[in-house]
């Protein structure tokens, strides 16, 4: 089976890419490990729609555009394989291996749009490894998929639009939110004022932002949070916190953490393309040009996986990458390329400018970025901050030596949860926003794979 382009991820970016591809007559194969298209923002939206409709209700207006996108995606001339976990991409991206219903397939790819999206910035806090602690996005995902909010008394903790959005969605669903602890405070808003004019150019974004800030649920709130630890023996029992306004304790059964989202760079790092440190968003991201093309030809990264700009930008960047590929294949002329691309590139610029405001307001405080003491940094191998600090003091100045001495980052999550915090701990001066040393190497398989699946893989040449 020959495809013009393989798209990894069926979120807004991947779906928009596939729709654009099919409209230009390109054959796209789309792979996603989820059971349905939608990505994070529009997770399980088809099922939600059917459940609501059966109950005589409709989707909220803000979600309707997701359903429309999925409809256009499903109706496009695209081959979509769900429950397909991509576990390898070769250097430069010409070969892709994925697992589908227990079988592994390796396929060639003439061009690739990687649209793996983002994940929530892991910020190790004391007690964050306890059952009952989840990310806010997880609580939202649970709500989207099962229709049920998290049970028991809930504390939301951290910063970012998604934290506020989740608080609202949970409250609306009847959840028992007993605290909203935000690191955000007046100082953050002050610091962000210079970015306001640029953000004003993106009216919808600003409106959404204002809604989020003003329509938070009526629950006890704490601002300017500086420290927190989660208490419990075998599961969450409460949160101790300190803020500029004082300290306190809240009894609860669940804690939902959120400190913004960062690009999922596993695929792009595995493919060996250039990455750069994004100072404003404090994360690594692949270097891409105005067409989302990485340092490897015909390997594009679109959507939040290439830098956090949200679902609207994700769609634009997905389309842009296809335009570039189609142009290379001679499917569109120079003229129509620039005509089709211009509004997309303008739109991306506008959204990027608005983003500075959000990133500055919702900035994770330094007091929380560097874990200490008994805080479990590496959850898989259960390595504490104190152990990392000791290894560092005895000369382990980089992540690889830290691994040898502590096993940090050697478990099944492949260092996705701990490497940023560990790196922050061992990099002097990182507090001043300095660029950290390069991130840990990524090796295949980036998804669970058995020896048998590897041995019996189907290879298509």
């Amino acid at each position: 089976m020959n495809n013009d382009v393989v798209v990894i991820g069926a979120g807004p970016a991947g779906m928009a890419a596939a729709i654009q591809a099919s409209s230009l007559g390109l054959k796209a194969l789309v792979l996603d490990e989820q059971p349905a298209p939608g990505g994070q923002r529009f997770r399980a939206i088809e099922q939600r729609y059917r459940r609501l409709r059966a109950a005589g209700k409709g989707l909220p207006a803000s979600e309707q555009k997701g359903l429309d996108l999925i409809r256009r995606f499903r109706e496009s001339d695209t081959r979509f394989v769900d429950q397909a976990s991509v576990w390898d991409i070769s250097p430069g991206g010409r070969q892709i291996s994925y697992l589908h219903h227990g079988r592994s397939f390796t396929i060639p790819a003439n061009a690739v749009v990687a649209a793996p999206g983002a994940y929530e910035r892991p910020v190790p806090l004391e007690g964050w490894h306890l059952p009952g602690v989840m990310s806010a996005g997880a609580a939202q995902t649970m709500l989207k998929m099962s229709g049920h909010p998290v049970k028991g008394r809930i504390v939301l903790l951290g910063c970012g639009p998604l934290l506020l959005l989740t608080a609202r969605q949970l409250s609306n669903a009847g959840a028992n939110v007993v605290g909203l602890l935000q690191t955000t405070g007046p100082a953050d808003f002050l610091r962000a004022t210079p970015y306001l004019p640029a953000a004003l150019r993106s009216a919808t974004l600003l409106k959404q932002g204002l809604q989020l800030l003003t329509q938070t649920p009526l629950v006890p709130k704490v601002f300017s949070l500086t420290q927190a630890s989660i208490i419990g023996a075998d599961h969450v029992e409460g949160v101790n916190y300190r803020s500029r306004g004082g300290s306190g304790f809240i009894e609860c059964d669940a804690v939902l953490l959120h400190f913004g989202v960062i690009p999922n760079t596993q695929l792009s790092r595995l493919a060996g393309v250039a990455h750069d440190w994004n100072e404003q968003q404090e994360c690594w991201q692949p270097v891409v040009d105005a067409w989302q093309e990485t340092s490897a030809e015909n390997l594009m990264v679109a959507g939040d996986g290439g830098g956090i700009l949200g679902d609207e930008a994700a769609e634009m960047s997905g389309r842009l990458s296809i335009l570039r590929i189609a142009h290379r294949l001679g499917r569109i002329s120079d003229q129509s390329l620039s005509k089709l691309a211009a509004p997309l590139q303008r739109g991306l610029k506008r959204l990027a400018a608005a983003r500075a405001l959000i990133d500055t307001i919702f900035h994770t405080p330094e007091t929380m970025l560097i874990p200490s003491g008994d805080t479990v940094v590496c959850r898989c191998e259960e390595v504490t901050a104190a152990e990392i600090a000791a290894a560092n003091a005895s000369g382990a100045s980089g992540l690889r030596h830290l691994k040898v001495q502590t096993r940090v980052g050697m478990g099944p999550c492949r260092a996705q949860m701990c490497s940023m915090a560990a790196m922050a701990m061992i990099t002097p001066g990182i507090r001043c926003g300095q660029r950290p040393p390069p991130p840990a190497t990524v090796r295949a398989p980036i998804r669970p794979l058995t020896i048998g699946q590897l041995a019996e893989a189907d290879v298509e040449i």
Binding site: Q47, D234, N264, Q416, T450
Partner: protein, 106 residues
């Protein structure tokens, strides 16, 4: 195939086994969200300390939701879609490679 959102009826309910419990879920849902929705927070124990662990990210990143599914250990519950009658187990000990479990070889 007809796109799912055009189907007139609501999604089906399916059920699967979690240890001795029967768990209800929507078709198209993941094992982890179904477990959480029915109040199961603990999906296994940590290999080193034996302390309990439970799902954290629900998008396949953290690997804290690993469970045994139909005899295969260390499956991400948050990425695995529920199937009628699937057998899910909390992981509390190391899995034997040999003997015992007949379902494993499937």
């Amino acid at each position: 195939m007809r796109p799912p959102h055009d189907l007139p009826e609501p999604p089906h309910q399916v059920s699967f086994r979690f240890g001795d419990e029967e768990i209800e879920a929507w078709e198209g849902e993941t094992v982890a969200t179904a477990l959480l929705a029915s109040g199961v927070m603990i999906t296994g124990v940590r290999a080193m300390s034996g302390r309990s662990r439970g799902p954290y990210c629900l998008i396949g990143v953290c690997h804290e939701c690993l469970v045994e599914i139909d005899g295969l250990a260390n499956q991400r519950a948050c990425i695995t879609t529920v199937r009628q009658n699937m057998k899910v187990c909390r992981q509390t000990r190391l899995r034997p490679l040999t003997g015992e479990d007949e379902t494993r070889e499937q």
